[in-house]
Symmetry: C2
Subunit: 315 residues, 2 copies
Amino acid sequence: MTTRRLRDVGEHRWIAGLVRRLDTAPRVLIGPGDDAAVLRPSRRPLVLTVDTLVDGVHFRAGWTSARDVGRQAFRVNASDLAAMGATPVAALLALEAPGDTPVATVDGVAAGVAAEARALGAALVGGNLTSGRTLAVTVTLVGDAGPRVVRRAGAKPGDRLFVTGRLGAHAAAVRALLSGRRVRWPLAPVRVDAGRRLASVASAMIDVSDGLLQDLGHVCRASGVAAVVDAARIPVAAGCRRVFGPDAALHAATGGEDYELCVAVPARRLRALAALTARLGCSLTEIGRIVAGRPAVHVPGEAWGRRAGGFDHFR
Amino acid sequence: MTTRRLRDVGEHRWIAGLVRRLDTAPRVLIGPGDDAAVLRPSRRPLVLTVDTLVDGVHFRAGWTSARDVGRQAFRVNASDLAAMGATPVAALLALEAPGDTPVATVDGVAAGVAAEARALGAALVGGNLTSGRTLAVTVTLVGDAGPRVVRRAGAKPGDRLFVTGRLGAHAAAVRALLSGRRVRWPLAPVRVDAGRRLASVASAMIDVSDGLLQDLGHVCRASGVAAVVDAARIPVAAGCRRVFGPDAALHAATGGEDYELCVAVPARRLRALAALTARLGCSLTEIGRIVAGRPAVHVPGEAWGRRAGGFDHFR
């Protein structure tokens, strides 16, 4: 059987086929297939974010299925909404792909985005397909704000610092994949519900996309405070311990793409926090505290704590 | 003076610098620089669209300034909103760029997007920067629906067909640029106000991005009708006549990237249309009519009218 490729099918026929397969959602007045999508308005503020996954940068063909690339593209955006306490409503998918891309690949990406949207009661409502030199998947999410919008700014000295789930699994998997071992490329966790609940008690929140130290550094700069992290308390993923051994805490603190939430909670809200931890759907670990001082992240006793490293696309 | 490149500055410093330069707009509650942007809700339905311009596909470095690439990326999206009668409120910019891209290039693209947003009372509220093999500029626009949302579906036999402005200028410019002549790379026109006004009388509307015949074909399929276009009435851009001579009408009918509006108007609304043409800010030309029949676009007397050609990214 020969592989059907994009150039055999063409942009317009592929889009028409996709549009027929997509389902809709209550808020969608006009879904994909017109010049633009139309949503019923909400009384809540709108929350907007966009992120791109590029073949060879964020993933490599062969590491995972096209469907999981689509799922991840949705999830990394959902993570940004979760970090504000918001919930996805609608997704747009902008695809770049070379003409020899198998149709099954772009079908898989779109199906992955649509499946993740559906799982959260949202919908893939539109997008764009263009030729390009590499596969690149850009998802835009439009969400509804929750009752409280939490920013990076707002952390105060005395606040306790928590992180959801475990860190370092992605860094460990990429290290293993680059060395030729066949391990599962980990998808970002979905922390939308956890984010909405944590927003009710948080003074500041961010998702850990570029590494805990770097992202916590963004909170410190936005809030005008410093943070002290206890390296021993960082929840290290099992795979990270296995791959990095004695350096596991370093990689858990600086590896990117974990998409857990890092949240600052004032002492007066710790009881309220305790009341909701059972319903987060994930673990929550206290890792340090906010202190007064010039914006910086300190990791006492760890040489690597001096530099708040993390991932930068160009450095 | 050495050129500052993205890899000298880094993702986070570039974003921080950009965020300081961006201005805000009344609807923006939280602008760029946090996990996501937040907009005040509107009572009007939301209209959403996304489009990508790729270096080497939609433009070539050297044809135009980075600022104009950013302006165009905004305008091609604004064109999709205009075709629904909607108005832009907020833009997101997702950039892919190689590490050796001059900082001035990404600065220029972002400044172009922000300037076009500002000119329409909208704002650039967020985005993403990632490394990639080629420069690719993805803009998402969120807009407010106007009093009437016009779709591709809705055209009825007897409706008259009109097109704004003139067609073929982009195809002519690209032909000239590819042959090494230095001509201006034409930006898409801004038809947002025209689209909002035309929406009050239109039965169907689309923007001409892939060529008049192809885009009108989308209207025919969505509406379940056919269209008859009078080739002699197609408003051909002066540059198109100059470059293509006797084939000018063909190229005006099939060349892409003109971003004019093609609109169907029922006969009973022609007086209302006449009353608003003076305020469209552009010419409006009657080019044909909608007829009953299998979805197709007919151009009587022209051999090229048999195939409703136009641009497809993969064919």
